[in-house]
């Protein structure tokens, strides 16, 4: 288990600054996910940690080793950084059998024959591919190929694991299965892990901590719980959550929040504020009643989408459209009335100018 530390990392391609002054510390054994939209610099960051890409400025430390420091003139090549990396494409060597793929690096390390055999066996057992040792990668399914890539890492026993969208080439069902496998891999190796993805479910389910990145800048870092419940700014609020969070603007008037078609009570903490706020309500945090209730607001059903365990309900009130999420398989008629209520403590409020959360996580 080693700590990873990036400080003041800057990276440009030509004139475009892809990573802007990044500071990041990953605790020993932690599972950290870098999450962000396509092109935001996730892969670049990962490759800089691995040594496959050189930052323009900054310092990278793995454990107590400085592996890169622009100002001290240190660049250690990837070969000696001693980490494990899984590419999106798995990068299995097509001309070698599964067994050779797994043992090549071990042989280069001149481990003893029995040691290599033992590690190969354990690795294949862990990914349940014992019978496939003699196959070539092209003779395996996508999921099996991914497991070979994992086995290759297991056999090497790195203390740092880097993964770049290792599940994105798999279909939805396999992805869920493999997610469990990766979690187990992290636990078994006890390795400090950096995981790159643009899939928020993976980020939320796997991570100890999540970094949300956009255009080379960290928008928020925190636990999955905080990221989901207390987004630091509008970008994170909108980026995380499926179905998307409901956003609407409200003006503070006479101790209430006037949102046009809806009116919300004003939380005490904002009593002294004037002007406008953006209200963010997670679809599942909006209470729903099929019968009229005192003080609840009436809305009309637009579209109902049952997904099995849950149902997404699109409703409207005046010109305001809202998304609700209820558990269970629900069918409703279009235009049917519903009553909704907001739990003030579950809402987030953002400053429309700075886009910052007015109620940041404590």
């Amino acid at each position: 288990m080693e700590q990873i530390r990036l400080s003041g990392i800057v990276k440009s391609y030509g004139k475009i600054e892809v990573v802007k002054n990044l500071d990041l510390t990953i605790a020993p054994g932690e599972f950290l996910t870098i999450l962000g939209p396509s092109g935001c610099g996730k892969t670049t960051t990962l490759r800089m940690i691995a040594g496959l890409e050189e930052p323009d400025q900054g310092v990278i430390e793995l454990g107590d080793r400085v592996v890169f420091s622009r100002n001290d003139g240190v660049v250690l090549p990837p070969e000696v950084r001693g980490l494990g990396l899984i590419f999106q494409s798995y990068a299995l060597w097509p001309h070698m059998t599964v067994a050779k793929n797994i043992t090549l690096a071990l042989k280069e390390q001149r481990l003893s024959k029995s040691e290599i055999e033992a590690r190969l066996k354990t690795a294949l057992e862990l990914v349940q591919l014992e019978d496939f040792a003699k196959r070539y990668p092209s003779e395996l399914s996508g999921g099996q190929q991914q497991r070979v890539a994992v086995a290759r890492l297991i056999a090497l026993r790195p203390s740092i694991l880097l993964m770049d969208e290792p599940l994105s080439n798999l279909d939805a069902k396999l992805r869920t299965e493999m997610r469990v496998g990766l979690k187990r891999l992290h636990r078994d190796l006890e390795a400090t892990t950096v995981y790159v993805t643009h899939d928020q479910i993976e980020a939320l389910t796997l991570s100890d901590r999540i970094i949300i990145m956009n255009e080379g800048v960290i928008m928020q870092e925190g636990t999955p719980f905080d990221i989901y419940h207390h987004p630091a700014n509008l970008f994170v609020a909108e980026f995380i959550g499926d179905p998307k969070i409901n956003l609407f603007t409200g003006a503070i008037k006479a101790g209430k929040l006037d949102c046009g078609d809806l009116t919300l009570p004003l939380a005490d903490e904002f009593a002294d504020r004037g002007g406008e706020m953006i209200v963010a309500a997670r679809p599942e945090k909006i209470a729903v009643s099929y019968k009229a209730k005192r003080g609840w607001q009436q809305v009309a059903v637009e579209i109902v989408q049952p997904t099995g365990a849950d149902t997404i309900i699109q409703v409207k009130v005046g010109d305001t459209h809202l998304t609700l999420l209820q558990s269970g398989f629900i069918t409703l008629d279009e235009g049917a009335p519903l009553w909704i209520d907001f739990d003030l403590s579950a809402l987030n409020f953002f400053d429309p100018k700075t886009t910052k959360n007015l109620r940041p996580a404590s």
Partner: protein, 613 residues
């Protein structure tokens, strides 16, 4: 605010720390180190000799003393240029060869392209019969020396006006072929066209096969007529291949030596290549260097004009890997006639010359092509003072067998070095994509392409004529043959290397890197095995070209480094037609055998597995 260089600002580029850092970086980037080494080597072997002949062309040489005893050896002079361009001798030295070379180049290129593309269309886009066999045989000329046709032509039409024995026509029909049929411009153009069509055929059939016929069908749906479709869709897509075929053929013909020597010299029909050869033999290197420079400038001008006409949109990418479908048009009633046409054409270009050579090699008394005169003497006779100056037959002939050994060694070594160099250049170019070094390397690896063979040979005469530092004088050594062959083939092998390297996704190497596998082992275990099938094809090509090459090395051959093609040319010069025919036939058979073996082995090596990923 005061900013110190260490606090976020740009570090001083010349500080000790920064130099250490740059050294570190270089060490971590093997492609940079390899790129710099390749670049230095190529600059040395391409630019240094060019510089040397430029220097020699502009300075007074000891061999010029016979023209001007007053001259000071080593002083700057325009004497050579004056002689070639402005003195009365210029007409013979420069003007006539220029006219001959250019008209020969234009004629052969035109015919070759028309024949080659016609055949390509028949083979790729129509339903002629026997495609498999035809496909294999149409590239046979590529495996033979370009002057095999010329030898066959001489066997057929040699007349008594030049001296020496007569050919089949005189012997069988009793008619003497007129000089203009037997020698000079007409037969040179015909025989060269029947060889060089193969280049156009290879390039254009490759391009035709990748032009998606769905594209053309899309044109048809858009309401275009057949000819409009060809003009608007097919032609623009074929243009790059057509352009390369034109340039390739034209430059090859400018630099070709064998055919113009065999068919031109007897009637004093000189091209640039034969004139350069004659000047060197007459110890007028200065003239030869100037002519070689002119030849290079001609080639560059031609490439420039060609790129102007075709434009810079060099490669339309039509290979999508998806929806790729070849549609054959039905020839209908023309199917058999077209097939018969191809058969006749193959008889003319492959069967007939080889048969004639076999026949020639088996005539005991030269010029007598009757049954009674047939004999295997020139194959296995052990030497008889009454026949061919007592020169023994092929299998007892030390000179021939030694040259055979040299030829095979040359082909093998050239292929090996070329493969290695192509791999390294490909690696440095592809991994360094986007950088200046990568571009420079790609450029210089392509440079030998623009040197017509004979001109490159002329340049290499000057190369290391004396020792430079640790490198000994190379003139007359076997090493220089290997070197020039490697350099001449580099444009093609480095392309193969680049193409092979582009196929290997960089993550395959990066994974190994991260796993702690060093550069050398990565090359050995990953890069080389994965690029092998492409490299083998490129190396086989080098082997073939090296074995059959004459124009490139004719100026560099000496008894110490003699190869088969040189032996053949020597026999031909001494009017020993049977020997030259026998050796040529042997050479062709060896080339074909070896390339078949290599192809079968490469197929057997199970490379099919790689294609699926």
């Amino acid at each position: 605010m005061v900013s110190t260089p260490d606090a976020g600002g740009k570090p001083n580029p010349w500080s000790g720390r920064n130099i250490a850092y740059q050294a570190y970086r270089l060490k971590n980037k093997p492609e940079l180190i390899i790129g710099v080494m390749c670049l230095a080597f190529l600059a040395f072997v391409v630019l240094v000799p060019l510089f040397q002949i430029l220097r020699d062309a502009f300075t007074f040489q000891s061999y010029d003393l016979s023209y001007n005893p007053e001259g000071e050896v080593g002083a700057f002079t325009l004497f050579h240029f004056d002689r070639v361009f402005f003195q009365p001798i210029s007409k013979a030295l420069f003007v006539k060869p220029l006219i001959n070379s250019l008209s020969m180049g234009v004629a052969v290129t035109t015919i070759g392209i028309i024949v080659g593309s016609g055949l390509a269309w028949l083979m790729v886009r129509t339903n002629v019969y026997f495609k498999e066999v035809f496909g294999a045989m149409l590239v046979f000329p590529y495996m033979m020396p370009s002057w095999v046709m010329a030898l066959a032509w001489l066997s057929l039409f040699r007349n008594d006006r030049i001296g020496g024995s007569e050919g089949v026509m005189t012997s069988v029909f009793g008619v003497q072929a007129p000089n203009w049929i037997a020698y000079g411009f007409v037969p040179i153009v015909i025989t060269l066209s029947l060889h060089y069509y193969a280049y156009a055929y290879l390039l254009i059939s490759g391009a035709l096969a990748t032009v998606d016929s769905e594209l053309e069908e899309a044109g048809a749906t858009a309401g275009m007529g057949k000819w409009k479709r060809i003009r608007v869709i097919t032609m623009p897509l074929l243009l790059p291949a057509l352009g390369s075929a034109v340039v390739l053929t034209f430059i090859r013909i400018l630099g070709t030596f064998g055919t113009p020597a065999l068919l031109g010299l007897p009637v004093r029909f000189f091209t640039f290549s034969t004139q350069i050869y004659a000047s060197i033999n007459a110890r007028n290197q200065g003239d030869a260097y100037v002519l070689a420079l002119v030849l290079i400038i001609l080639a560059i001008t031609f490439i420039w004009i060609n790129s102007r006409i075709i434009g810079v949109r060099k490669s339309y990418v039509t290979m999508t890997g998806k929806g790729f479908r070849k549609k054959e048009s039905d020839l209908g009633k023309m199917r058999w006639p077209a097939t018969i046409f191809v058969i006749l054409f193959l008889c003319l270009t492959v069967v007939m010359p080889l048969t004639l050579l076999l026949w020639e090699s088996m005539t005991l008394i030269p010029g007598d092509y009757s049954w009674n005169n047939l004999s295997g003497y020139f194959w296995y006779g052990s030497g008889n003072v009454d026949l061919a100056y007592g020169e023994p037959g092929v299998i007892h002939n030390k000179g021939i067998l030694g040259a055979l050994g040299n030829s095979i060694k040359l082909g093998f070594l050239a292929a090996l070095f070329n493969g290695a160099l192509g791999l390294l250049v490909g690696y440095a170019v592809v991994r360094g994509r986007g950088g200046k070094l990568s571009k420079a390397l790609e450029g210089i690896a392509f440079a030998p392409y623009i040197f017509p063979s004979i001109a490159l040979g002329a340049i290499y005469i000057g190369m290391f004529s004396s020792s430079i530092g640790p490198i000994p004088a190379l003139y007359g050594t076997f090493t220089i043959l290997v070197l020039i062959t490697v350099i001449k083939n580099l444009p093609f092998t480095s392309r193969t290397g680049i193409a092979a390297m582009l196929q290997i996704h960089q993550s395959l190497e990066e994974t190994a890197r991260v796993q702690g596998i060093g550069w050398f082992r990565r090359m050995l275990r990953i890069i080389i095995p994965l690029s092998m099938s492409g490299l083998v094809a490129g190396m086989l090509l080098t082997f073939i070209t090296a074995m059959r090459e004459l124009s490139l090395i004719i100026l560099l051959l000496s008894p110490g480094n003699m190869v088969l093609t040189g032996v053949i040319f020597g026999y031909q010069e001494q009017d020993m037609a049977q020997h030259s025919a026998a050796v040529t036939l042997m050479l062709v058979l060896i080339i074909i055998t070896i390339s078949v073996i290599v192809k079968v082995m490469a197929r057997g090596a199970g490379t099919g597995r790689l294609n699926t990923t």
